[in-house]
């Protein structure tokens, strides 16, 4: 909770395209500012309705991609509630206000020689930008994506662009292999050269718990977590996630500030 070094500001972008993608939507937004410079794994606090006091709070959304040259920010949004539903119905030309970038991103320097990305559902959103960042550093990444069915898969094309290979899992086998995205990791202990140096994960809590139970002893996992947020900048202590302490005494970190990416080993999933 020490005095911050974060650099964030408020921006207003113009929606260029709003494209359905799996069970979600891809929003490409032009951000005309040299100051906006997000890192993979960071997120934005997006305003839903600037003229009303309800909904009151911003919605945290990952930077799904950022094309720095063109100044184009990509969000991938799954409509699950009032705020996200409102966003995915915006028309091109409309203005989208947000502030950020916020949080600590994925630790790229810990990628090692053969990092894997593992993404469940809309968890694929931040992974596009991560894959881009790794690719730009010349690091080859294998990407595992999963969804209930083929039609729900998010960002597959974009992930293919930046990954060495993309392995697809669907629960109903309508695309790729049949099973949840973590299914292939069961044999990870038997893997030799293929074994990942690190796992970057984003997806439902269930997926993260499976990772905890299966690979955590063998491979470092960096997971992007979710929490309801008010400030998004570390001021309100509302986005707490339990962190492990020697004696087991309760202690918390802020998903918005120390996270959203945490070493999975250090947090207590609830």
């Amino acid at each position: 909770m020490l005095a911050g070094s974060l650099q964030f500001d408020q921006y207003e972008g113009v929606l260029l395209r709003n494209t359905p993608d799996g069970d979600s939507f891809r929003l490409d937004i032009e951000v005309k500012s040299d100051a906006f410079w997000p890192k993979a794994g960071q997120f934005l606090q997006v305003k839903i309705n600037p003229n009303a006091l309800d909904p009151l709070l911003h919605r945290p959304l990952s930077v799904s991609d950022f094309d720095a040259k063109a100044g184009i920010l990509t969000l991938r949004i799954r409509p699950v509630g009032r705020g996200t539903r409102h966003l995915v119905t915006r028309n091109p030309g409309s203005r989208i206000g947000f502030f950020g970038p916020l949080g600590e991103g994925f630790p790229l320097e810990q990628a090692g020689s053969s990092p894997w990305i593992i993404a469940g559902g809309i968890g694929a959103a931040p992974m596009v930008f991560l894959a881009r960042a790794l690719a730009e550093r010349g690091i080859r990444v294998r990407t595992l994506v999963g969804a209930a069915r083929a039609a729900d898969l998010v960002a597959v094309e974009a992930l293919k662009r930046f990954s060495q290979d993309v392995v697809i899992w669907t629960e109903d086998a309508s695309a790729g292999s049949q099973g949840v995205v973590t299914a292939g990791l069961a044999q990870i202990d038997e893997m030799q050269d293929e074994r990942p140096s690190v796992l970057y994960a984003c997806g439902p809590v269930g997926m993260l718990k499976t990772l905890e139970a299966t690979v955590l002893d063998t491979i470092p996992v960096f997971a992007s977590l979710e929490a309801h947020m008010a400030c998004g900048v570390g001021a309100c202590l509302g986005c707490a996630v339990g962190v492990r302490t020697p004696g087991g005494a309760p202690n918390y970190a802020r998903v918005c500030r120390e996270g959203p990416v945490f070493p999975l080993r250090e947090v207590v999933l609830s």
């Binding site: 909770m1 020490l2 005095a3 911050g4 974060l6 650099q7 964030f8 500001d9 408020q10 305003k47 006091l53 309800d54 909904p55 009151l56 709070l57 911003h58 502030f99 929490a227 309801h228 947020m229 008010a230 400030c231 998004g232 900048v233 570390g234 001021a235 309100c236 202590l237 509302g238 986005c239 707490a240 996630v241 339990g242 005494a249 309760p250 202690n251 918390y252 500030r257 609830s270």
Partner: protein, 306 residues
């Protein structure tokens, strides 16, 4: 000076806008857009004798035009505050008000003592109204006798101005205000959050880890104005008003209801630039609406309590 200076009892604020406790951390989290010295005063997060971990998550839920929080006063303790944050705040010339919490009267007293010895604290705000901790907190603030006793004991150990922060969750807020006035408080701050809760219909359970939480934001603004009005009619202490303040007309409305200075909290979450917008609009709005004067208590009938 911007010409916006105002007197809050013994405190000379450079402007009437105060960052309230708990939504502005220890002053630096919004730094890139809101430096702490923007405000007339900064009230830091509730601080206890030893570190408190706070409540288990979830701690937050949005509600119509408001939000519930059940942070549970997570804080690193008074020593860390004094060592890590106070020097930075002092360096920046911030008027710092420390928000004091405790589980027992003795803890309040001990924290107050420690803070009084430090250099760079302008005043103490006794939080006797937090709905999010099991012991202490609101328990004191809903009892006339306990409130009075607590303030009297803290009064003995500090020469700093004492703000006492009241809870709206009482039958008669005027009675509590009179008690803390009698016990030697210098300023009354209000309101703390309104006790509320939310239910998760899918999980068939309360949403917040702590079951109850505190409601804040624009939704409670009418309750805040009413409490300020009632306290203004009950005591002659100056009032620091807060609860849903979002724009510069709200600031003037809170003053008309009786506040000498006005706090902003939850509105930051809806628009982090709100404090800047308020401070930009305030001189013009004050000229337009109140002939350039601070309209403290102006909405009260003439010949009222004051």
């Amino acid at each position: 000076m911007s010409g916006l200076d105002v007197q809050l009892g013994p405190l000379a604020l450079k402007n009437p806008l105060v960052a309230v406790s708990g939504t502005f951390g220890f002053g630096f989290d919004y730094e890139p857009i809101l430096p702490p010295d923007l405000f007339g005063a900064v009230i830091v997060k509730g601080t206890s004798l030893v570190p408190w971990p706070g409540n288990p998550p979830p701690r937050l839920m949005e509600t119509p035009a408001g939000m519930l929080n059940a942070i549970g006063l997570e804080n690193p303790g008074v020593d860390v505050f004094l060592r890590d944050y106070l020097p930075l705040l002092r360096e920046r010339g911030v008027m710092v008000i420390a928000n004091v919490v405790g589980r027992t009267m003795s803890e309040y007293v001990a924290v107050s003592e420690r803070l009084s010895d430090a250099d760079g604290i302008a005043a103490l705000e006794l939080n006797i109204s937090c709905p999010n901790v099991k012991a202490g907190g609101m328990a004191f603030g809903t009892s006339v006798r306990d409130s009075e006793a607590l303030v009297a004991r803290v009064r003995q150990v500090t020469s700093l101005p004492i703000l006492v922060k009241l809870s709206p969750n009482v039958s008669d807020i005027g009675a509590i205000a009179r008690a803390v006035e009698a016990a030697g408080a210098d300023v009354i701050s209000l309101i703390n959050t309104v006790l509320g809760m939310a239910i998760d219909v899918h999980k068939r359970a309360p949403i917040l880890g702590n079951v109850f939480g505190g409601l804040s934001g624009p939704a409670i603004r009418p309750i805040a104005l009413r409490c300020i009005w009632q306290v203004y009619q009950s005591v002659s202490l100056p009032i620091l008003g807060m609860g849903g303040v979002s724009d510069s007309e709200d600031v003037l409305a809170f003053m008309m209801a009786g506040a000498s200075a006005v706090g902003i909290g939850t509105a930051l979450f809806a628009d982090p630039y709100a404090p800047r917008k308020i401070l930009e609009a305030l001189p013009g709005d004050r000229d337009r609406l109140t002939e350039g004067r601070w309209p403290i208590g102006w909405a009260h009938p003439k010949g009222g309590c004051r």
